[in-house]
Amino acid sequence: MVKNKTQTLSLDDYIPIVGKDTIDELRLLASSLKGKKIQHINSTRVGGGVAEMLTRVIPLMRELGVDIDWDVIGGTPEFYNVTKKFHNALHGRADVIVDRDFDIYLETARKYNKETEIKGDIVFVHDPQPIALIQNKKRMKTTKWVWRCHVDVSSPNERVWDFLATFVEGYDASIFSSPKFTRPLKTSQFLICPAIDPLSDKNKPLSYQRINKVLSKYGISRNKPIVSQISRYDYLKDPVGVVEAFKMVKKYVDAQLVLVGNSAADDPEGAKVLKEVRQKTKGVADVHILLIPPEHNDIEVNAIQRASSVIIQKSLKEGFALTVTEALWKDKPVVASAVGGIPLQIKHKYSGLLCHCIEGAALQMRQFLHNPTFAKRLANNGKMHIKRNFLITRLIREHMLLALSLFHKGDIITL
């Protein structure tokens, strides 16, 4: 039975999914952290994957008895414009970075360094925005500092990376989602993948009626197979490529395409991509291009994913791609590009099908649509792989292990 409010969930609610033994292990580990205070610091309490993750992780770790806090730094719109540019530059995009950008960054860093109270024995700092907090290290000699990088920095704009690396090198350790995302650094680089909460609104089981209600709302038929991609309207997510692939599928299978993204009103590039997608789908039957507002997003995305026959993620570049994790968790056959963290989640022909081009995406979608038994087998494998490796309980376990590793030397540690 799934509770209505994610916030009221407790660790025991996860036992039917991950088993009592896994929860018991978390309790054992938590007891080893007694006397240590953990502090997470990022730049926002709402919106974005980091805030979503911390919203779930913090209460569960508190329930485990871990002394843990979550703080956010302050910043001006000008600062966040700069950090957005940094973010794009770290992904390798050629945004113009000027000297003034670094000045703006350092001005805000001075301010948040004064205002942020460092109270953890172990401080996890997320992403580039608060990275300069490490300047507090000199006056807090016993505190252990960990930088959690949620970005693929394997081929960054060198100027931005060199600037940030001066801070990163001061940390006791850093965390990346994949060895492919790491950089040559003097500090320890731990590998911790992101995870999904199987009981959040975006992932919890939904009734048939609830799913139908969402499909009816958007005029999506139950009588034709649904192929869907859930992603913002962004060139890197290649929605245009998805449409092209769907056209190739549609020649053989009477399917529907559902593209789901957030409202693009305040995103000039998103609006442009959306316009292009609409142009490409003119005259193509059974295409649904949806803009779901954030307040309805989680449940409705969940319903559309659960109603889908095939879920596609045809990105040109990706971070970890939690949308793939969510799709696999829902026991769905997934076709996805072999980029970013996707190959960590999908082993080709075991837990999904990987593709490298539009034609390949179309072929793999047809394979699934024409072979439901094959699709089901891979979907089952995919779900098991996510259950084993990419649920929130594993993330909590690894956060605690990392915290402990900062106080123990050696590769084999007996607690």
Binding site: D24, T182, L191, K347, S351, D411
Partner: protein
């Protein structure tokens, strides 16, 4: 007939792993073997055991990331087969396993007409694991306790007592066999638990196989009486 009970109970432990990047990469078999000569034992252990936990539900794949990479990214099928067929269970030290891996790759390089490089971004990333060993509350005093606990413990606990203890901690024997022999005094059952290849099972399959071997043994019947 009374159950054979020991004064030295079996305390189940578990182990949890944290992965750490070494920053080292290999583009081809030559670089692979060169790095293998220098990396810590934790790296060798990690890459020869990673599939046991991560992919346990997909297939009982050979638990050897080197073979997987050589096959999928270098396209060297013969070397991949030679690497994947290394019988890890025959090794009781990481040092010996490392030497075997090196021997196989160098043997291949000696005959190779070309050195194939992996595509950009598909290099082999050397990763090590830090292993945290924790006690659990499961304790066995006899075979029944052992089976009951085996049904409840995590697969990470099975992994620890079968693989980690034997090779990483270099005890050369799995914990279950060791205890059944030395504390319960059942050397034949201990031997049966030591002479099957655990690397060709998924961890869930391994759990069931250990339980089956115990429950179908004469020692079990001796402890519980014939029905």
């Amino acid at each position: 007939m009374a159950k054979r009970k020991t004064k030295n109970p079996f305390y189940f432990c578990t182990h949890l792993e944290l992965r750490e990047s070494t920053g080292l990469k290999a583009r081809n078999a030559r670089e692979l073997v060169n790095v293998l000569k220098d990396v810590s034992g934790s790296v060798i252990y990690y890459h020869t055991h990673v599939f046991l936990q991560q992919h346990q539900f997909l297939s009982p794949e050979p638990p050897n990331a080197f073979a997987y990479w050589v096959q999928h990214f270098l396209g060297e099928d013969i070397l991949a087969e030679r690497l994947s067929s290394i019988d890890i269970y025959q090794f009781s030290t990481i040092r010996a396993l490392r030497e075997k891996l090196i021997e196989v790759i160098e043997g291949h390089l000696f005959d190779a007409k070309e050195i194939r490089n992996a595509p950009l971004g598909k290099e082999f990333d050397f990763t090590k694991s830090r292993s945290f060993i924790l006690p659990t509350h499961y304790v066995a005093h006899n075979l029944r306790d052992m089976v009951e606990s085996l049904q409840k413990i995590t697969i990470r606990s099975i992994d620890f007592h079968i693989f980690n203890v034997r090779l990483r901690l270099e005890k050369g024997i799995n914990d279950f066999s060791n205890w059944i022999n030395t504390s319960l005094g059942y050397p034949e059952l201990a031997s049966r638990l030591e002479t099957f290849d655990p690397y060709t099972y998924t961890l869930e399959g391994l759990r069931q196989n250990i339980i089956n071997i115990i429950e179908h043994s004469p020692e079990w019947k001796q402890d519980h009486g014939k029905k």
